[in-house]
Each structure stands twice: as C-alpha cells, then as structure tokens.
Amino acid sequence: MTTESLAVRTDTPVRTPIGKTRRGGRRLLRQGAGRQHHAGPLAYVLLAVMAILSIFPLYWTMVAASTDNTRVSQTPPPFLPGPNLFSNLARAWDEAAMGKAMINSLIVAGVIALSTVLFATLAGFAFAKLRFKGRNALLMLVIGTMLVPPQLGVVPLFMMMSELGWSQQLPAVIFPTLVSAVGVFFMRQYLSEALPDELVEAGRVDGAHSLRIFWSIVLPIARPAMAVLFMITFVQAWNDFFWPFVVLDMSNPTVPVALTQLSAGYVRDQSLIMAGALLGTLPLLAMFIVFGRQIVGGIMAGAVKG
C-alpha cells in the first residue's frame, strides 16, 4: 500500500473525487492517467449488457411485486408491471412489520454511520497530520484489523450482549460496529492530500488547541469525504445481515432480518415476498439515484492503488 499513486501534479485546477474543484490541490482520481482509449461499439454493447444484468433483478422484483401469486407462477413469467403494486406493498408492510424494521434500520444505520464518520475523521486527522510516538505502528494495527473478520467473535459477543441485557435490542447491533478501520484509513488518505500542513500550523501559531483546530479547520475541509463515508457506511449497516440476524428476533428486527420472515411461511406468496424485498431496497436505491456519483467516487477513492 503506497500513497505515491495518490499524489499527482499540483499545478492545474483539479477535481477531488467528491466532485469539488480546488485550485492547487492534489486530486485522488486522475482522469489523465491510465488507458484512455475511446470506447468502440463493442464496449458499449458489453457495458449495456452488464448494466441490464445489474438492474434486471431489481426491475423484476418490482414486476413480481406488482402482480399476484398466480400470475407470477405462470410461464412465460411476466415482464411488465401489473396492477397490484401498492396493495402488495401495503400487505408486506403489515405482515413483515416493515414499518418497525425500517425505523430500526434507520436508527441503526444512522447512528453507526454518524459515529463511524466522527471517530474516523478524528483518528484519520491524527494519523495524517499529527506527530506522536507509535503512530506508524498504530496505523499498521488499524490496517491489520481490516483483515480480521468480525464474525469470528460472534459467540462471545452474543454472550456479552445477553450479560449486558441487550439481546433483541438495537444497542446490541449498534455497539460492535461503531467504528471502522476502513473508515479511519479512508479519512487518513483523504486528509493527507486535502488538508495543507500550513493550515494546521497556522492554527497552532494562533494558539488554537487541537480540538479547536479539528473543529474549525479539519471539519470543513473533511466534509465532502465525510459525506461519502457516511453514505457508504450507511449502506453497509443497512444491509448487514449475520449479526443482526443472530442477536435480534422478529419482534424487533432490522430490514434484512424482517425480510427472512416473509419467506419463512408455509404458503409462499411470491408477490408478497417481492414486495417486501422491494420495500427493503427502495430507501437505498433512492440514495443511489441521488448520490450515485459521490458513492462511486468515494469507493474509488478508498481503493488501494498501485
């Protein structure tokens, strides 16, 4: 893992991955490097096929959710939406406790994303711009923890949660994911590039203490990256399945946990199941349609390069 590949020319106005133009800054995404042949017709065709494969299952979820169970089970299967979308959505909303699940997921993903962003920005700033003993060792530790699969601690974690009396409660889902090593690394990479050393220095000379420097110098500069990290973390926390499934039950589920309830019945009502799947995906899809560019840029900026 090197940082060289992130550092580029500093003369031209450039775009940060977040989509803001800065003069004299260094950009994380280079449009000039890499292979930049123009796409031929074949590339367009292949990409169109990929796009269809990516989107079709979601489109078909919507189709299936808008028909009824008998229509879904006919051959050939339906390809166009039917008339029952809203009645199925309403039924799924009731039967899978979707209202409660959505509020739970909103709380869980919101709190996790907020705290991940806050702590990652604090630690990322320290790793990028402050000098302290053991900095490199600690940073390697952060990177090392990325490679430790969290699920391996699931048994003791479950025991801890029941001891704390948090079983079946949201804190049990929230606390283990309050911080993220990937987030710390991401913010460190961003701040090393985007935050000029002179600014921090100037703050010191003016006699500002570290927290004040963080508040009035770092935060405004980090904001675009924080927004991206927030969205990425939110998506992950919203979709997280294994641990919520273990520690929550159907009386108090998150969305992914509630969805398993739909397929558990003896009579499988496919339209109903698809309506539930659609409900669980809609909030994130909406976010993608609005912030697609930022999320794509953020994932690419966080990638290991070179």
Binding site: M1, A51, A126, P156, G207, S210, A264, G292
Partner: protein, 332 residues
C-alpha cells in the same frame, strides 16, 4: 506509509514566553505553556483512542475469548455456566461428517463465486476505463447490486431459480434445455448461491480495479505501444501488473467474505429454517453450521470451535496464496 508531518506540528515553534522572563503574567503563561504541551502530546492519542477502545471491546476481545469458549461446554440457555472440556469440541468437530461437508461446501462455493467474480470485475473495470459518454451511468449501474441487501437479493434470485416457474428454467427451456432442480441438487444449488454473490459484488470490485487502473501512468502504455504490444498484451503486461496490490486486496476481501458466507445460502434455503443448507446439507456452509450448532442445537462451545476452524481456514488460504505467489516470482 508516508511520514510527511512537518516539524511545526510538534508545537516547538509556538511563541511561548520563557519561564525566566519574570513579570506579572508568568504563572499564567507557564500554565498555558504546560497545557499547550499536554495538548500537543496528548491530543493525538485522544483522537485515535475511540477507535481502539471500541475495537478492543467489541472486536478484539470477543475474538480472543472465542478460543476460551471453544474449550468449554456452554449452552445457550445457561450462558454463564461453563464446563471445561479441553479439546473435546475440536475432536467432536473432527469426527463430525457435517463439519467436513460444510468445509467442502464453503470451499467450493467460495471458488465458484470468487474466481468468476474477480475475473468479470477485471473485464468490467477495463471497459469502464474507456473514454465514453454516459460513463457515470454505467458506473452507477454496476454498483446498484451492492446497494441491495443480502435479504432482498437472495429472495429475488431464489425466485428466478425456482424449479417450476422460475425465469431461469423458462429461459433454459427456450433454448431447448430441460429444467434444473436448482435447490435440490448439490452443484446447481451451489451455482445458484454463487450467482447471488457474483451479482452483488462484481460491480464493487470493478470500481476498486478501475481506481487502480486510473493510477497507472500513461507513459507505461505509450512505451508498451511503441514496443508494438497489442491491446491484449498491454492489458496483461501493463494493466494487470499495475493494479497488483488492488487485486491482492480484493482477493483477501472476497476470501474473508466467502469463508463466512451465510445470508445467501440461508435465504436460498427458504428463510430461517434454511440453516441446514438443503435437505442433504448440500449447500450448508461453515457459517450456517456455526449458527446451527450455536442457536439451533444450543452448543455455543461447538459454535466457537467452528469459528476457530473458519479462522484457520482463512490463515491456510493466505499461506497457500503467499506460497504460490513466491513460487511464481521465483520461476518467472
């Protein structure tokens, strides 16, 4: 790691009054100088502390404690009473055919989901790297599956792979092939589960590769084309080596993901009852077996032993991967 932090940040340059200067404000200045030193020395640790404290409490400690639990009999109903068993859980696991079956399934599903996924991601990234109109649309579109939860994705694919009315069997019928019972047979079931994994993660990996590709200096391509390298040669000799560390990173991430595969086979097996991974455990993964032992059979000690087996499997994969990499660099 770059160590470019300027000296000024250590705080020495700050115009602090010398203690010997005397006068009225000395006491206060001295105190503020002390506070300042404390701040400069202490603040970095305070800033990184939340991460390490929370990580230690909820990730590292459980990880270590897992090994202690795995040496005990612990039942779900009586979590606070632990009976020492020594290695009994591991021995029982070794003699349990379900464990070997789950291990084998985890490996095969891992391979047939990870290998095509990363190869396709590489190709997709290459396409996305072309200069073109609508490039943002294609990037966002390829990332849409990533926004879908395991729950929703697995539900949809379970339906597409349905035996009697599923769209995939219908499509196979169109081209003259007989219907496949995707759920009941081992390889079709594993293939179907892999499809869900591949669908969800290909675009995400492609974006990581694309980021790496864009960091490759254009001069390398120029040099290659001056040497008369074809586009394919450029791809294999410039692009792929240029993103080597990204490729290693994605291999590590998808191996970790594959070892713990849980949601896809669970939901493919029709909801919470799917922990057995099919009637003959034909697609039960280690993740499912861990859940079955712990939360269906109430044997938390056994579940912890399975967690350790998963960890060992990961370590083994990485050791083998390192050895292959070393052998290859020696032969070339």
């Amino acid at each position: 790691m770059a160590t470019s932090t300027p000296k000024a940040l250590a705080g020495e340059e700050r115009p602090s009054p010398s203690p010997k200067s005397g006068g009225q404000g000395t006491g206060r200045s001295r105190r503020s100088a002390l506070l300042h030193r404390l701040d400069v020395k202490g603040a970095p640790y305070t800033f990184v502390a939340p991460f390490f404290v929370i990580f230690a409490a909820f990730s590292f400690y459980p990880l270590v404690y897992t090994s202690w639990i795995s040496l005990h009999r612990v039942e779900l109903a009586t979590l606070d009473s632990m009976t020492w068993l020594g290695l009994d859980n591991y021995i029982a696991l070794w003699n349990d055919s379900r464990f070997w079956n789950a291990l084998q399934n985890t490996i095969t599903i891992g391979i047939i989901s990870t290998v095509p996924q990363l190869l396709m991601a590489l190709g997709l990234a290459h396409l996305l790297n072309y200069k073109m109109r609508n490039s943002l649309f294609f990037r966002v579109a390829s990332l849409v599956p990533y926004a879908t939860s395991v729950g929703a994705a697995a539900l949809v694919f379970t339906m597409l792979f349905e035996r009697d009315f599923g769209m995939i069997n219908w499509g196979l019928g169109l081209v003259g092939l007989g219907p496949v019972d995707w759920e009941a047979n081992k390889w079709p079931a594993q293939l179907a589960i892999s499809t869900i994994v591949i669908w969800r993660w290909t675009g995400y990996n492609a974006l990581l590769y694309l980021a790496g590709m864009q960091a490759i200096p254009a001069e390398r391509y120029e040099a290659a084309s001056i040497d008369g390298a074809s586009r394919w040669k450029q791809f294999t000799h410039v692009t792929v080596p240029g993103i080597r560390s990204t490729i290693v990173f994605t291999i590590v991430l998808s191996t970790i993901g594959a070892t713990q595969l849980f949601g896809e086979p669970l939901i493919f097996g029709q909801g919470p009852n799917g922990v057995t991974g099919g009637a003959d455990n034909q697609y039960q993964t280690l993740g499912l077996l861990l859940y079955e032992e712990g939360w269906n059979n109430y044997q938390m000690g056994r579940a912890a032993a399975i967690a350790w087996a998963m960890f060992l499997l990961l370590v083994l994969v990485f050791v083998v991967q390192r050895m292959i990499a070393r052998l290859r660099s020696r032969t070339s």
